[in-house]
């Protein structure tokens, strides 16, 4: 027979044999856990799950880690095949709760005598409660305050006190910080180009750290977001000028080629600011570094990222899902979080124990910096988070490149925010 006809018969047969086999493959009886973060974080989570399986050998957990977390979560929920357990940031919680996508965990909490709700940091549980019924829809898995990561040797070489010392001396305002960053910025080979920056920061995404420290009370209610104020403008302009005017921080262009953590990790920047999770990646760096409080100005402030485990309302195995959530947010699970350097445990008993304070002893870093009570007020959220966020970030772009000043763009951004928030 001719080879082409063999091919046809072969493909028909192969299709008939393969397709049913493939669908069998797709059926899993385990529960799924959807997470974000990099490969390193996934490795850590696998470690937590191994500990979980020692207690619950019958529950297999499959990890889902998509590159684009929110669209995928949305589409899985809409498809009626949500992951059983998933990460939920506090800003996004409102949207997902209003969509009715989350399972009410209160019955499970009530049935778990050793849940010990009082052990969670104040406010962390409340962020995931229904505002009317007070029922809990997510259990905080970890939280993180932003801190300054700094390269110890670079501070020594420049003859500067460490940021921790400066904080202690009361000389750690954002403007003090600027002077320190200037002293650390170097052109080592004398070619007129900066080789080591004082500071690297993913400012186009993380500017949110500054405005409250500059006195801008910008999230006033879930439907009232006010950015068009002199304080907000000052904060944004200060941040932009670190790159544009003072040249102590890689600008937008430099960040496109090397991300902010890479500038620090490759010893091309002396300071870097982000949350606790970066410790997990930085713990293998071949140089000495430490953490210190973020600078202050009119107010003491640091941004808090808070993440919970939520269970899908349509979960096929809510019991198993709850067991996973309860284990991971329980004392043992939280100790694992502390040891990994992943984040600050949400249980105070663990966060204030040696499990966190003395975690990663080989690094000799000041873990307790994360626990300084310098956040202001309750954790803030507003409606239409994704769209408002996009609008602000987009509107600020000309400021980062120096085409416009913050004061010039903020009225436009305000108009856009008002428009979005006015939609029902």
């Amino acid at each position: 027979m001719d080879w082409f006809r063999k091919l046809i018969v072969g493909t028909i047969l192969a299709t008939m044999v393969l397709l049913p086999g493939l669908t069998l493959y797709g059926e899993q009886v385990t529960i799924s856990l959807m997470m974000w973060g990099g490969a390193v974080e996934e490795q850590e989570v696998r470690g937590y799950l191994a500990a979980f399986n020692e207690v619950y050998p019958d529950i297999q957990v499959e990890i889902i880690r998509p590159a684009d977390y929110w669209p995928k979560l949305m589409s899985m929920i809409a498809a009626g095949t949500p992951p059983d357990v998933f990460y939920m940031g506090f800003p996004e919680f409102v949207t997902y709760h209003e969509l009715g996508a989350l399972l009410d965990l209160q019955p499970f909490v009530d049935a778990t005598p050793d849940f010990n709700a009082i052990d969670f940091f104040p406010g962390t549980l409340d962020a995931f409660r229904d505002r009317e019924t007070g029922h809990l829809y997510g259990v905080p898995k970890d939280w993180s305050t932003y801190v300054v990561y700094y390269n110890v040797a670079m501070f020594e070489e420049a003859g500067l006190p460490t940021p921790n010392e400066l904080f202690g001396y009361g000389q750690w305002s954002w403007y003090d910080f600027l002077e320190v960053a200037k002293a650390l910025t170097q052109d080592t080979d004398g070619d007129g180009q900066v080789d080591v920056y004082g500071f690297a920061y993913n400012f186009p995404g993380r500017w949110k750290l500054l405005p409250p420290a500059f006195g801008a009370d910008w999230v006033q209610a879930p439907d009232k977001v006010v950015v068009d104020t002199p304080e907000f403008a000052e904060a944004i302009q200060f941040l932009a000028d670190l790159a544009l005017v003072h040249g102590v921080m890689p600008g937008v262009t430099e960040l496109a080629e090397m991300s902010a953590p890479d500038w620090f990790a490759n010893q091309k920047a002396a300071m870097f600011i982000v949350g606790r999770w970066m410790t997990m990646k930085f713990k293998t760096l071949p140089f000495e570094w430490d953490i210190a409080p973020v600078p202050y100005y009119r107010d003491l402030y640091t941004w808090v990222d808070l993440v919970a485990y939520c269970v899908a309302r349509d979960s096929q195995n809510p019991e198993a899902a709850w067991n996973l959530v309860n284990f991971l947010t329980g004392p043992q699970g939280q100790e694992l979080v502390a040891q990994a350097g992943h984040a600050i445990p949400t249980r105070m008993s663990v966060a204030h124990s040696p499990a966190f304070i003395e975690a990663l002893p080989e690094l000799g870093i000041h873990n307790s910096v994360h626990l300084l009570p310098i956040t202001t007020g309750p954790i803030t959220v507003f409606n239409h988070w994704g769209e408002v966020w996009t609008a602000i970030n987009r509107g600020l772009e000309p400021v980062w490149t120096g085409e416009k000043t913050a004061a010039e763009v903020l009225p436009e951004i305000q108009a856009e925010i008002d428009r979005i928030l006015a939609e029902d």
Binding site: W70, T253, A256, E257
Partner: protein, 297 residues
């Protein structure tokens, strides 16, 4: 004999329907049905789960008042024009180069020019993100070698779209070139010989022989390029995520964002319907124009 042919006629009916059945079933189930349900959805407000809420033409009204959507339309038109104006003449130019009688290794060069068109856009986009990077990118390096200033390709709102166009021209021009080349080879040599005897210049031969006789090919190339250009999505999704400052937010990218990031399924469908209408309209207009200016040899 007529009996047999007659029977064959009815056999043809049976086998004909049977043969087209799978493809037509796929067509109706996976294209016509979604098209209809998409049009229906465009009249609802629906966040992806839960009940749908009738919205009438609100989504359409909103669309034409949505500055971001209009911006996306403008960006898409810009991209399409860029490809049409730069890419298609380049494809023709390449085809003419490769069609020279004296050329050795024509198949080899055709292969090289064609190579990018078969590669995976997702992977190629990552490569170009690196090529177009401002300080360590190869493109800026070569610009520097010939004394031109650095361009902040994907980060400057003025240059982001040209960056995408540049990449797309690199990626897609080989395809059109192959079609042009085949078209050129289909033009009878005698025309040129006659023209040469008449002493026509190269330009005249191109203007009065090549272009008119190539017009069916050109028509085909323009129409297919335009339709594919209007769907641009991957490049924007991977290279620039629609930025900076929406400079590369295309229609499809905006549709995707509305549907899968902002839970606005109905609104997103209205935009899809709009895009579909543009594509159909463009095709119809081109068909009409084709009758007027396309010469068939």
């Amino acid at each position: 004999m007529f009996g047999k042919l007659g029977r064959y006629k009815y056999k043809q009916w049976f086998w004909g329907y049977l043969f087209v059945l799978p493809v037509m079933a796929g067509f109706f189930l996976f294209m016509i049905y979604p098209m209809i349900s998409g049009i229906a959805l465009s009249f609802y407000k629906w966040p992806g789960i839960g009940p749908k809420e009738w919205a009438g033409v609100a989504n359409y009204l909103k669309m034409f008042n949505d500055a971001h959507f209009l911006r996306a339309v403008g960006n898409t038109v810009y991209y399409t024009l860029g490809i049409l104006v730069l890419g298609i003449p380049l494809a023709l130019f390449w085809a003419i180069l490769l069609n020279q009688k004296f050329l050795k290794g024509r198949n080899f060069f055709r292969l090289i020019y064609f190579l990018p068109t078969v590669t995976m856009m997702a992977a190629v986009s990552m490569v170009w993100k690196w090529l177009l990077s401002p300080n360590y990118g190869l493109v800026n390096y070569f610009l520097g070698l010939v004394g031109l200033p650095k361009v902040n390709w994907l980060l400057d709102p003025k240059w982001a779209m040209p960056g995408l166009i540049l990449m797309s021209i690199w990626k897609g021009t080989g395809f059109n070139m192959v079609i042009f080349l085949a078209g050129l080879q289909g033009i009878p040599k005698t025309y040129y010989e006659a023209a040469e005897i008449d002493g026509a210049t190269a330009w005249h031969r191109f203007r009065y022989i090549t272009l008119p006789l190539l017009s069916p090919t050109t028509f085909f190339v323009v129409i297919t390029t335009m339709i594919t250009s209007f769907q641009i999505f991957q490049q924007a999704y991977i290279l620039t995520e629609g930025g900076p400052r929406e400079a590369t937010t295309t229609i499809v990218f905006y549709i995707y964002k509305n549907a899968f990031e902002w839970f606005k399924m109905g609104y997103s469908c209205a935009q899809s319907v709009f895009l579909l209408l543009i594509l159909i309209l463009a095709t119809l207009i081109q068909w009409r124009i084709q009758r007027r200016w396309v010469h068939y040899a």
